[in-house]
């Protein structure tokens, strides 16, 4: 087992300095997810303007994988339409579960998460934030 295949440098970089991270007040929470097996916890605030994701802020309490994934997911989301995001999120989750071939979907840093597939216990760490964002967008749509 190669630890560096799981914790690629780009993942550790996002973990150490997560993008779009910040405290999310109770009133702004658009979605919240918890991983019951480890207690990891993410809160999201999202702003949608003219059918575009204009801003994302995530408050992550979790491992390197879940924090880095939330950072990468947020970077990807900003500027996309909610539909684009949902399509990519579904593809990403299916790839992580091994249900479809890996292709980076035009996401640069996210490529680094492909190594997580070899660690079944950690897949939820990488997918939790994508589920949370989809929930947040549903709420923003309403």
């Amino acid at each position: 087992m190669d630890l560096d295949a799981l914790y690629q440098e780009v993942i550790l970089d996002h973990y150490r300095s997560p993008r779009h991270a910040g405290a999310v007040a109770d009133a702004e929470v658009a979605a919240e997810e918890v991983n019951p097996s480890c207690g990891d916890h993410i809160r999201l605030a999202v702003e949608v303007k003219d059918d575009r994701i204009a801003g994302v802020r995530h408050e992550s309490h979790g491992c390197a994988i879940s924090t880095a994934a939330a950072s990468m997911m947020s970077e990807f989301a900003v500027g996309r339409t909610p539909d684009e995001f949902r399509r990519t999120a579904d593809a990403f989750v299916a790839m992580m579960r091994g249900e479809r071939e890996w292709d980076s979907q035009g996401m640069e840093d996210v490529e680094a998460l492909s190594g997580v597939r070899d660690f079944p216990m950690r897949i939820k760490c990488a997918t939790m934030c994508w589920h949370a964002m989809k929930k947040a967008l549903e709420k923003a749509d309403r």
Binding site: M1, A21, D40, I65
Partner: protein, 424 residues
């Protein structure tokens, strides 16, 4: 000879016990993981099994497998005899007055559930209270939540103090407030290692008219425990945490209580006369052992009792105490490491946090070095909230662990901290 040394009994004790020799009894420990020697530090979850235990299980299946307490043939008699011998060994192991007070279960969880069903649901009334602590494992919490709901009773909780001990004043205050019918307390925390003063708690609870259940999942495996000395009414423990097989455990209950309790599960073996509408129950403890029991694991547990008795429980406990003290000091000495709990009397479960490294990342990193620890909420979510964290790292020791394994752990923790760059 060292053992005769009158000045330094602990040095004599250490020199008379050779953990390296004992390790050879455990096949699992002989392997390498990812090219490194396996460092198994997850003993609070389950211990490894010595060859004697593994062979006892094989030998049972190879020589006398039969259903117990039913047939009159040779194999059934031999299987029944051996199964009942283990019941006697279990009674002796925890100082019970009679094997009639020993009910075989699948483990501690089933033991607690048995009492929650067969005693609590029958005898608790609306307004009654069950007194628990904030450090209980989910298996000594959820059964009481369910029973309290069913009976209309309430739960009360003794807080955990910053040093990882129980707030004994709060315990007394809850009893003084009245209505407590049962106190259910762990003897040794699986997170903090804290050994609770169960004997004092039991005396106080009895004075207030409450019964006492002891969760012995951790304690019975790692220190001499006597139910007579503790004065408890119920005590549950698991075989697999003390070198026995999985799927076997013991519930001790006072005989007079077992007599008044309703059956837990119904089926074969637990009956006396069965009619279409009504039945009567077998004598205790068989009344609580419906269905074919886990005979092979019970026999394996018997081998574990023999094995541990031969090594000497006091010897093992003393060695583990020294090793635990060493491990706590070694971890505390590392920069950015915080050890939870500082109880004066403690067992070998050592939970800690590493600054900037999430427990799951640490456990993954250590696994790369062949070091097995546990990371997570450890089935103690309320205690995690009291500690203010979602998860912890836990290294938990057994008598076959070595100081050099603690050193390996400490070294890997330092490297993990550098690897993850002290976090976000």
């Amino acid at each position: 000879m060292d053992a005769c040394c009158p000045v330094c009994p602990s040095a004599a004790r250490r020199s008379s016990f050779d953990p390296r020799a004992v390790r050879r009894d455990f096949p699992v420990l002989q392997q390498t993981v990812r090219g490194r020697p396996l460092t198994y530090l997850d003993n609070a979850a389950t211990t490894q099994k010595p060859s004697e235990v593994i062979q006892a299980v094989c030998q049972y299946y190879g020589t006398c497998n039969a259903n117990v307490h039913r047939a009159f043939h040779f194999l059934a008699e031999e299987a029944t005899r051996r199964y009942e011998e283990v019941r006697k060994s279990a009674a002796a192991w925890i100082g019970a007055g009679s094997p009639r007070e020993i009910v075989f279960t699948r483990g501690t969880t089933e033991g607690v559930n048995l009492v929650a069903h067969a005693w609590a649901r029958k005898f608790l009334k609306p307004g009654d209270a069950i007194l628990l602590t904030e450090m209980e494992h989910h298996s000594n919490l959820i059964p009481w939540q369910l029973a309290a709901k069913a009976a209309g009773a309430s739960l009360r909780f003794v807080p955990v103090l910053p040093d990882g001990t129980l707030d004994l004043d709060a315990f007394a205050a809850h009893l003084a407030a009245g209505g407590v019918r049962l106190a259910a307390v762990t003897q040794m925390s699986n997170v903090l290692g804290t050994v609770n003063p169960v004997r004092d708690l039991a005396a106080a609870a009895h004075k207030a008219g409450a019964l006492v259940l002891v969760d012995g999942a951790q304690s019975v495996a790692h220190m001499p425990v006597s139910v007579r000395d503790l004065g408890c009414d119920f005590l549950a423990f698991s075989g697999h945490k003390m070198c026995g097989p999985t799927g076997i455990g013991v519930l001790y209950a006072r005989a007079d209580l077992l007599e008044t309790m309703d059956p837990f599960l119904g089926g074969g073996e637990m009956i006396d006369r069965v009619g279409l509408e009504e039945s009567t129950w077998a004598e205790i403890p068989h009344k609580f052992e419906a269905g074919t029991p886990n005979v092979s694991s019970a026999i394996g547990l018997g081998a574990a009792f023999d094995y541990l008795n031969r090594l000497g429980r006091d010897t093992l406990a003393a060695y583990e105490r020294d090793l635990t003290r060493h491990a706590v000091a070694a971890l505390r000495a590392l920069p950015g490491v915080r050890v939870y709990g500082d109880a004066p009397e403690r067992g070998g479960a050592v939970s800690f946090a590493v600054d900037g490294v999430h427990p799951h990342d640490l456990a993954q990193f250590l696994d790369g070095d062949g070091i097995a620890i546990r990371a997570g909420h450890l089935c103690c979510q309320p205690l995690m909230r009291r500690l203010g964290v979602p998860a912890v790292n836990r290294a938990s020791l057994a008598f076959y662990n070595l100081e050099e394994e603690v050193a390996r752990l400490a070294d890997a923790v330092v490297r993990a901290r550098a690897y993850f760059g002290h976090g976000p």
